[in-house]
């Protein structure tokens, strides 16, 4: 059992307990704050940042207007969330644009943070916005780093400027001149990863900066970073004056407390988050959502948005009503599979669910169902008769043989599909129940469409 799953559960429990109380004593608040502190630390928020944060919230929480309000617990929860969001920088920030193109952007950070990939992702994003970016290969140290950027540039359809293992200062300078002469409007400089305590290499970055006068210096930070995030951010900021942060690998299951630390010590906004290895897996940063994630409250807004964008709300509603009336059959299941293909990898959006830590325990081991698998499942259902789809219970061994043959699969595959269907039906019922609770808690934020769950693959 991972320790911070436990902690986040604990925190939610504390919040629930608080909510359950009518009047709050100062000791209640102090106890809750101790738990909040633990949750923050378990999420890798820096020790000092967590301490300051808790002090600030406590000061507000024991204030008269909270203690004497009708719903003190709710007030405290609200304060925690507000302060967390504020700490993370309020509104989403945008990428700078130079009044005189090209806009020069430098990507800097530790080794392995994801600079090269994110330079390419930024290029893709800019290109989508009708810009003409240039990628610059200024990592002359790591073996094959230049080649990596060239391959990514090719994939992105973006030109890559390289002078081999030349001095990075010269590479950057000539790249900017090149962009200007070619009418390219963004220059994205991929620099080598380096330690913030490596004076020689930090001085190299300063020389690049002084030579090209970047409009953005983006610090690329791995979302899984621990306590050291503070030292790293402080040093890079002190020595280079960063203007923003890209938080990478947020598609992992880290709580991402580094986001808080980095923001707190630099005062610079997190501008983008990386959420996958594909070149389009770059998103603008939403402070409030990150706040929820760190506290383990689930990124409800993202989920709703994502689900609403991808799913046909009307269909989802119908499905859910069917589940509740226990009429959900294989035809509906097939409909769901199709909807699911539009949503993308299931583990990615499932992790956004509030209280997912608890649900996860009840879920089958392997949730991951790939595109191929989805198509195969659909093929199996397609090989059934209408009668079979509507009344799965009539499918006997003989029918299974026929279905397997018809869909080019095996009996085992058919059995598995039927099992997955059953699991889904069961889980959807639970899910519908959870949604009701959620709505009560969150007010009218929108509805969560019924979502399919699939059983284990073997």
């Amino acid at each position: 059992m991972a320790m911070f799953e436990g902690l986040s559960e604990k925190l939610q429990e504390v919040m629930r307990r608080l909510r359950g109380k009518g009047k709050l004593t100062e000791e209640d608040v102090a106890e809750a704050m101790r738990e909040v502190r633990r949750a923050l630390l378990a999420a890798d928020v820096n020790f000092k940042v967590a301490r300051d944060f808790v002090n600030r919230v406590s000061a507000r929480a024991v204030g008269a207007e909270v203690m004497e309000s009708l719903t003190p617990a709710q007030q405290v929860v609200k304060i925690v969330h507000e302060e967390l969001t504020a700490l993370m920088g309020g509104e989403a920030a945008r990428l700078a644009a130079a009044p005189q193109p090209p806009t020069v952007v430098m990507l800097v950070g530790l080794q392995g943070a994801g600079k090269t990939t994110h330079a390419a992702k930024l290029a893709v994003l800019l290109k989508k916005q009708g810009r003409r970016p240039l990628l610059v290969a200024a990592d002359i140290y790591r073996p094959a780093a230049i080649r990596q950027l060239q391959v990514l540039g090719e994939q992105a359809g973006v030109p890559v400027f390289s002078l081999g293992q030349e001095d990075p200062v010269r590479i950057a300078t000539e790249a900017v001149a090149h962009a200007r002469s070619q009418g390219l409007d963004y220059v994205l400089v991929d620099t080598a990863g380096r330690l913030h305590v490596d004076q020689e290499l930090m001085a190299e970055l300063q020389r690049i900066r002084d030579a090209v006068g970047p409009h953005e210096v983006l610090l690329v930070v791995d979302a899984m970073t621990g306590q050291d995030a503070v030292n790293v951010a402080e040093q890079f900021h002190q020595q280079l004056g960063i203007t923003g942060v890209i938080l990478t690998k947020l598609d992992g299951d880290t709580r991402g407390g580094a986001a808080l630390s980095v923001r707190a010590v630099t005062g610079q906004p997190i501008k983008f988050v990386g959420v996958g290895e594909k070149l389009d897996a770059l998103e603008p940063f939403h402070p409030d959502r990150m706040a929820s994630r760190i506290l383990g409250m689930g990124d409800v807004l993202s989920l709703i948005e994502k689900a609403q964008a991808a799913l046909d709300a009307q269909k989802a509603l119908e499905l859910q009503q069917k589940v509740q009336r226990a009429e959900f059959n294989l035809e509906d299941f097939r409909e769901q599979l199709r909807e699911m293909r539009k949503l993308g990898p299931i583990d990615q959006w499932l992790a956004l669910l509030p209280g997912f830590d608890q649900i996860k325990k009840q879920l089958p081991e392997n949730l991951q169902v790939g595109e191929k698998e989805l198509r195969r499942m659909e093929a199996i259902i397609n090989s059934m008769t209408v009668e079979e789809r509507r009344h799965p219970e009539i499918i006997d061994t003989r029918r299974k043989h026929r279905i397997a043959r018809g869909s080019g699969t095996t009996i085992a595959d058919v059995n598995r599909l039927l099992k997955q269907f059953e699991e889904t039906r069961k889980l959807m019922k639970q899910f519908a129940g959870m949604e009701k609770q959620l709505k009560k808690r969150m007010g009218k934020l929108g509805r969560l469409p019924g979502l399919p769950f699939l059983g284990p693959r073997r």
């Binding site: 991972a2 320790m3 911070f4 902690l7 633990r38 630390l41 378990a42 999420a43 890798d44 820096n46 020790f47 530790l110 080794q111 392995g112 943070a113 994801g114 140290y141 790591r142 073996p143 094959a144 780093a145 080649r147 990596q148 060239q150 391959v151 990514l152 994939q155 330690l195 913030h196 305590v197 791995d222 899984m224 970073t225 621990g226 306590q227 050291d228 995030a229 030292n231 790293v232 690998k249 598609d251 992992g252 299951d253 880290t254 709580r255 407390g257 580094a258 290895e277 990898p345 583990d347 992790a351 392997n366 949730l367 991951q368 790939g370």
Partner: protein, 304 residues
Amino acid sequence: MGLFERLKAGLQKTRQALVEQINLVITSVRKIDESLFEELEEVLIQGDVGVETAAELVDHLRDLARRRRLETADQLREAIKAKVMEILGDPVPMAENPSGPTVILVVGVNGVGKTTTIGKLAHHYRSQGRRVLLAAADTFRAAAIDQLRIWAERAGADFIAHQEGADPAAVAFDAVQAARGSRRADVVLIDTAGRLHNKAHLMEELRKIRRVVERELPGAPHETLLVLDATTGQNAVQQARLFKEVAGVTGIALTKLDGTAKGGVVIAVRKAEGIPVKWIGVGEGLEDLQPFDPRQFVAALFEG
């Protein structure tokens, strides 16, 4: 420079940051009181030991101080040293295959230093006069194959690769087969693509690589190293748990200890998953890999 000196030098930053802080707290002339324990806990947490493990360690210390009537800071120091040593356990050497090539599978999340560590390991085995074969089973990341090829050249190791986008399990299979046949290698190091441990399909791929290797050479992989970045916080515990589950991790290489990160999370990892640290990475060069010796590590950790 002897091994111990090299280890100490490599751990200099760690020592400075974590240990010396602990020492500062402990040795400052003051009697043992509650605030001392609190400060100790803070130092541990700042070293990424984790809030839970830190609390346990300090509770243990508190209890011990009471039971054994500890009075001096030195006694406290010995006590916490002993406790961390106990958790880290005895050193565990790298596994060897006595009757054929030793196969080492290297896994981990993106960017932690897998490929670099393989380059360093290749150098380590080469300097023992052994024949080393590197297998480029990261067929996913752009230019990953080129990167490993360069390390193979640097270390004087043999090298096997397929096309970018090829089946990684097939690369691993070929490498193991070649090591036993035409290429006659003593050690096979398999580089894999970085993957986040919560991506089930990528973890399945890893399981498959392992299975294929196992089938080709029963008993292989003899060692599965999880590379952890010392900068990583508590998420390392999840990484360890899931990679162990899928790939049967037998050891950890803790990289980037040349920075200011302290890597204290390996204590929590050892406690939760029982996986020993076998190597530490202290730089980007061929030589910047050192065997992890728990005894010396803790000694260096607590003896300023």
